[in-house]
């Protein structure tokens, strides 16, 4: 997959990188077990500090999306994620966003539809991948 980082964006660079890799895994663009570029290679390609990539990889490792090995580097985790406590985590993430949606006048159905659409968008890419391997 192609990772794109927006230097003018609001989110910190490491967090953009983390998000892109999570989306890549969800969309099937990064397959379980697939080797990720080395920290140095990825930093050089994007044109960012090595420490930024290190930070994103460490975060992804702690969240269980990737595994890191001293010799073979980073790879997408082959095992399913540990989803205990995910509902609480998701609630924490979504609560302020739901509040913002209320402030902007969205009702529950509209907000729900919005979330479902985004879910479909990422799923759809995965379906295309599986149809044309």
């Amino acid at each position: 997959m192609i990772i794109q980082i927006d230097f003018a964006g609001d989110l910190p660079l490491y967090s953009q990188l983390r998000d892109q890799i999570v989306i890549g895994i969800a969309a099937g663009l990064l397959q379980p077990g697939e080797v990720l570029p080395s920290v140095r290679r990825l930093a050089a390609d994007i044109g960012i500090n090595i420490h930024t990539v290190n930070k994103a990889y460490a975060l992804l490792r702690d969240e269980g999306y990737i595994v890191m090995d001293r010799r073979s580097g980073a790879a997408v985790a082959g095992r399913p994620l540990d989803s205990r406590g995910f509902s609480e985590h998701l609630a924490d993430l979504l609560r302020p966003i739901a509040a913002e949606a209320i402030c902007h006048g969205l009702d529950a159905a509209q907000f729900g539809q919005f979330c479902a659409d985004l879910h479909h968008q990422v799923r759809a890419i995965r379906d295309i991948q599986e149809e044309h391997p």
């Binding site: 997959m1 927006d6 989306i23 969309a27 570029p37 990825l42 960012i48 990422v122 044309h132």
Partner: protein
């Protein structure tokens, strides 16, 4: 000697024409979003001032090329003995003129961007496939390199077979009229020097071919799958071009092997013909591929495969929206020297034309520049001294 002077004049004309043409087309083959090192939005491409700056470059470069041709003619008419030395120094004013023109136009482009308040996205892109998978991208044309190596091995075997029957004293140097003027005791190193140089050249070409697969991937926001397809085809074309040049270069070196073995001494005409034909065969594909493909393949319109879409991934709608701003101009000094201490990359895509550039925030970049400049100056000093003696 007059025929030789005529040939050297022809070489000068060819040199001036080739260099003039290569420098003149630079803005044409550069990414459209770059105007003399300044990043501009796609919507600004048809702005009359943008067209005006490009036309100005074209006019100045054409004038410089014509002046270089005229200078070659003047040297030939007044001091024909200096024709060969002129081929060393004629390109220099052309290169300096091109540099100054580009800097002047970069300043104007920068002012134009500020005046019009043009905003562009500032993006960093990366391909997640590992370097090994990337080498399989388009595939390296091994046939060219293995073929060149096979030729080389053949030449070495023939040389070793001929070696015992060679006389103890062999000719090692010929003057411009191809009369022997230096002799030496025969030695294996002397017999094998051409294949050794050819081997070094093959390795260098293979390394630069691998470097193409290691340069940054630049993706257009409008159509990432197209960018991906363009890169794929671009890498393929560049690889085959480099492979072809390697084969021609190997043939050129080995063409002199019979001379080294004292088996056959070509006349000076034949020798110049060999050099002219082989260098044409090396220059023409390089120009054709550069102009047809453009920087990173941006002039290509390849068919987009399912694999390109899959690799580029996301439809635009699932990507986060990109903010606009001043872009990455601040990292490009004079619009052509990349200085970014945050970026660990050493090699980057150039801002004008189809060449590679360096990240001058890396100390290794300065080492490379100093070594390269040293080599160029030494070559110039040595060749000038040698050629002045011939005059």
């Amino acid at each position: 000697m007059n025929i030789l002077q005529g040939l050297f004049f022809a070489i000068n004309l060819l040199l001036a024409l080739t260099m003039g043409a290569m420098l003149t087309v630079l803005p044409l083959i550069t990414r459209k979003s770059l105007l003399f090192g300044v990043r501009i939005p796609e919507s600004a491409l048809d702005h009359p001032r943008v067209r005006q700056l490009k036309t100005r470059y074209l006019a100045v470069l054409l004038a410089l090329s014509v002046l270089t041709l005229a200078a070659a003619l003047v040297v030939h008419l007044t001091r024909p003995a200096y024709n060969l030395i002129a081929s060393l120094y004629l390109p220099l004013p052309l290169l300096i003129g091109q540099f100054l023109t580009t800097v002047a136009l970069w300043r104007q482009a920068r002012r134009l961007k500020a005046q019009e308040n043009w905003q562009v996205a500032h993006l960093g892109t990366a391909e997640t496939r590992s370097s090994r998978a990337r080498t399989a991208f388009g595939g390296l044309p091994w046939a060219w390199y293995l073929g060149s190596l096979a030729l080389l091995v053949l030449a070495v075997l023939v040389s070793l077979a001929v070696y015992p029957s060679m006389p103890q004293t062999i000719v090692t140097h010929w003057n411009a009229a191809m009369e022997p003027d230096a002799w030496a005791e025969k030695s294996l190193i002397h017999v094998l020097i051409m294949p050794i140089i050819a081997l070094v050249m093959i390795v260098i070409m293979l390394l630069s071919n691998l470097a193409i697969y290691r340069t940054k991937l630049q993706v257009s926001l409008e159509n990432p799958a197209l960018s991906y397809a363009q890169h794929r085809v671009y890498r393929l074309w560049m690889s085959h071009m480099l492979g072809f040049i390697t084969a021609i270069m190997t043939i050129m070196f080995l063409a002199f092997q019979p001379m080294v073995l004292n088996l056959w001494v070509p006349s000076s005409g034949v020798m110049i013909l060999i050099i002219l034909v082989t260098s044409t065969l090396m220059i023409v594909p390089a120009i054709v591929v550069s102009v047809k493909a453009g920087q990173g393949g941006t002039r290509l319109k390849p068919a987009i495969t399912q694999a390109d879409v899959a690799a580029a991934g996301f439809a635009d709608s699932s990507r986060p929206a990109m903010r606009s701003g001043r872009g990455d101009d601040r990292f490009w000094k004079l619009g052509m020297f990349y200085v970014n201490p945050e970026d660990p990359a050493l090699f980057v895509e150039d801002r004008l034309g189809n060449n590679g550039g360096l990240n001058y925030a890396r100390p290794l970049a300065w080492v490379m520049v100093v070594v390269l400049l040293g080599l160029i100056i030494a070559t110039y000093a040595l060749s000038t001294a040698l050629l002045l003696e011939l005059v």
